[in-house]
């Protein structure tokens, strides 16, 4: 029988997010490949979800009444794996097997490799459709579980995302909350230079969605927005979470070059040092 961890102490949540960042740095350094900026930038959102928002059961990942968390931009999976391990889905030691032969932690998530992964992903634009399918079933069968979809900004270049957005509106999926990682970067540069997406909030509102904008590093705001989305019955909700790619590791922040590369040994050591300082700061804040 699952439930919600529902940690409400912000200091505790921020420390968990810090741990997740440290884990991601170690994982990516060990793997020698992977996507740093997005994974690090999503640590606060994944902390909010796994340690407060989601109804789930790490010891019984297939609990039928669990909330579904669909990750669309699969390349940020290190942060998901780190959140899952810290929540108790699997031993933390396994995190260092990321991207290695025989690992359950595939370079992009694979549904049948690791219990708790709802969908395989990698090719962008496919997650929201699957989340919509799940939400249609839940609504039709009057289930109480909700569907959360993590989507990226860059993947909105894929037409499929907009197809899914229209259908979610048609079926009035009040049980669907999409969280967009609005970090403004994609592989080839800034989103507004590669293919301008703005005005995103207006676009989604025009598509029939309820839109909330939050600071994607303010865990309280993220949790609050997720709670508010539950009160919107007749529309799906999009939470545009403004994030800083690489947040918490100053030499990574905002730089598009960190989208798709891992840290070197020196960079990893530096990043862990900075995160250690941040940990002390959070602890001292009391």
């Amino acid at each position: 029988m699952g439930s919600r961890m529902r940690i409400t102490n912000m200091k505790q949540l921020r420390l968990i997010a810090n741990t997740i960042r440290e884990d991601v740095i170690r994982m990516l350094y060990e793997a020698k490949s992977g996507h740093s900026a997005g994974s690090i930038g999503l640590a606060d959102i994944f902390t909010a979800l796994y340690f407060n928002v989601l109804y789930h059961d790490p010891k019984n990942p297939s609990w039928p009444d669990r909330d579904r968390l669909v990750l669309s931009n699969g390349h940020v999976c290190p942060v998901m794996y780190a959140a899952m391990a810290n929540a108790g889905y699997f031993p933390k030691e396994e995190l260092l097997t990321l991207r290695k032969l025989g690992s359950r932690l595939q370079g992009h998530p694979h549904r049948t490799s690791l219990p708790g992964i709802e969908n395989s992903s990698g090719p962008l634009g496919q997650g929201l459709s699957q989340a919509v399918g799940m939400a249609i079933v839940a609504k039709s069968e009057k289930k109480r579980w909700r569907v959360y979809a993590i989507i990226s900004d860059g993947e909105h270049g894929e037409g499929q995302v907009w197809e899914a957005a229209m259908l979610a509106s048609k079926y009035k999926l009040g049980n669907l909350t999409a969280i967009m990682d609005r970090n403004n970067i994609q592989i080839d540069g800034f989103t507004e230079e590669v293919l301008p997406l703005e005005p995103l909030a207006e676009k989604y509102r025009a598509f029939g969605w309820h839109v909330i904008e939050v600071d994607g590093h303010n865990i309280h705001e993220i949790i609050d927005a997720c709670e508010k989305s539950k009160a919107i019955y007749e529309k799906p909700t999009l939470i545009i979470a403004h994030t800083i790619p690489g947040k918490g590791i100053p030499f990574m922040e905002f730089l598009t070059e960190w989208h798709g590369k891992p840290p070197t040994q020196k960079e990893a050591e530096e990043a862990l040092k900075l995160l250690g300082v941040e940990r002390s700061t959070i602890e001292e804040e009391g």
């Binding site: 496919q126 459709s129 249609i136």
Partner: protein, 323 residues
């Protein structure tokens, strides 16, 4: 030998897409977990029969085949069995990436129904004639690929796909074609049906080409050529045993399909034989080209995919045995 299980010559005709639509209604009644989705082609792909009976388990996504596949994958991930239906050129034509990752890599039970396949879609022209769908689906892991021979076999293939609970592709046709298999004709995924024995050559066919090949074999018989006909309704997993058995017995294989010869059923047959029993193989179908508008039967004649055309291709292939 299964020729006792078929009606030859056929007494009636129907479109194989009707078999799919009928099966969905049967399945919908038996299993509350059956869901059906379409992309703005519910009537022409025969899902409207299901929609009328089970509106709560029917999803209309509009003209959006990528979303069609993705939504179905999400539904199937909730323990449902999803059937999605559109023209073959659009699904799996337009949503192959979604088929690959959201369906096959997830390994969720979504059955793709591609209707209006082959040149028999006719007057709509080359843009709408799915001639590549077998090639693009049979390369995918976890996938089952079927091209039933007639309306009755399409009904059985659909029911079998439901029982399988795996990703699958079922290819059907728009045009009314002879119905020659019966409720009693056996159907098992992965087991080809032999409808006619022969000693000189075996025609391996799928879809409406099976019946045309039976008629061709009858003509060839009167000209002294003994031609076996194998219905390879399942292209993946392929029935190696039956293919090898009849290749050995006859020494010459002619594969016939309403599909590009490159990568299609004939290629799959040639792959099996190259590795397990090298005998000459003639792949007959559409030869790396786009076709054109015309009635189904005019096109079958033009591209030598009617009985006369198949008989002529078999005859011109006979010399391959002597090499």
């Amino acid at each position: 030998m299964l020729h006792n299980h078929i009606t030859f010559p056929a007494k009636g005709s129907a479109a194989s897409r009707d078999g799919f639509g009928k099966a969905l209604v049967e399945l919908g009644e038996k299993d509350p977990n059956v869901w059906v989705l379409t992309a703005d082609v519910s009537e022409s792909t025969r899902t409207h029969w299901f929609a009328e009976k089970f509106p709560k388990r029917f999803v209309q996504v509009g003209v959006a085949e990528q979303n069609l596949a993705g939504v179905a994958a999400g539904i199937a991930a909730c323990g449902k069995k999803a059937f999605i239906s559109a023209y073959g050129v659009f699904s799996p034509g337009r949503n192959w990436d979604q088929l690959r990752v959201s369906v096959c890599y997830n390994d969720v039970p979504v059955v793709f129904h591609g209707s209006h396949t082959g040149i028999t879609v006719g007057p709509d022209g080359a843009s709408h004639q799915a001639l590549e769908d077998i090639a693009i689906t049979r390369v995918l892991p976890n996938m089952v690929v079927m091209a039933p021979a007639d309306m009755e076999e399409a009904r059985k293939a659909t029911i079998a796909a439901h029982g399988l609970g795996k990703p699958a592709y079922i290819r059907t046709c728009r045009e009314k074609m002879p119905v020659f298999t019966t409720a009693e004709t056996p159907f098992k995924i992965g087991e080809a049906n032999l409808y006619r024995e022969g000693a000189d050559v075996v025609v391996v066919a799928c879809g409406p080409m099976v019946y045309e090949s039976l008629v061709a074999a009858e003509k060839l018989h009167s000209e002294g050529i003994s031609c076996a006909v194998l219905d390879l309704h399942t292209i993946k997993p392929i029935d190696k045993k039956a293919i090898v058995e009849w290749a050995k017995k006859t020494g010459l294989v002619v594969a016939v399909e309403e599909h590009q010869v490159n990568g299609g059923m004939g290629s799959a047959v040639a792959e099996v034989l190259a590795e397990e029993c090298p005998v000459p193989v003639r792949r007959h179908g559409i030869y790396d080209m786009f076709c054109e508008s015309g009635s189904a039967f005019e096109l079958l004649k033009k591209y030598k995919l009617d009985a006369d055309g198949i008989a002529s291709v078999v005859k011109e292939s006979m010399h391959m045995k002597k090499r």
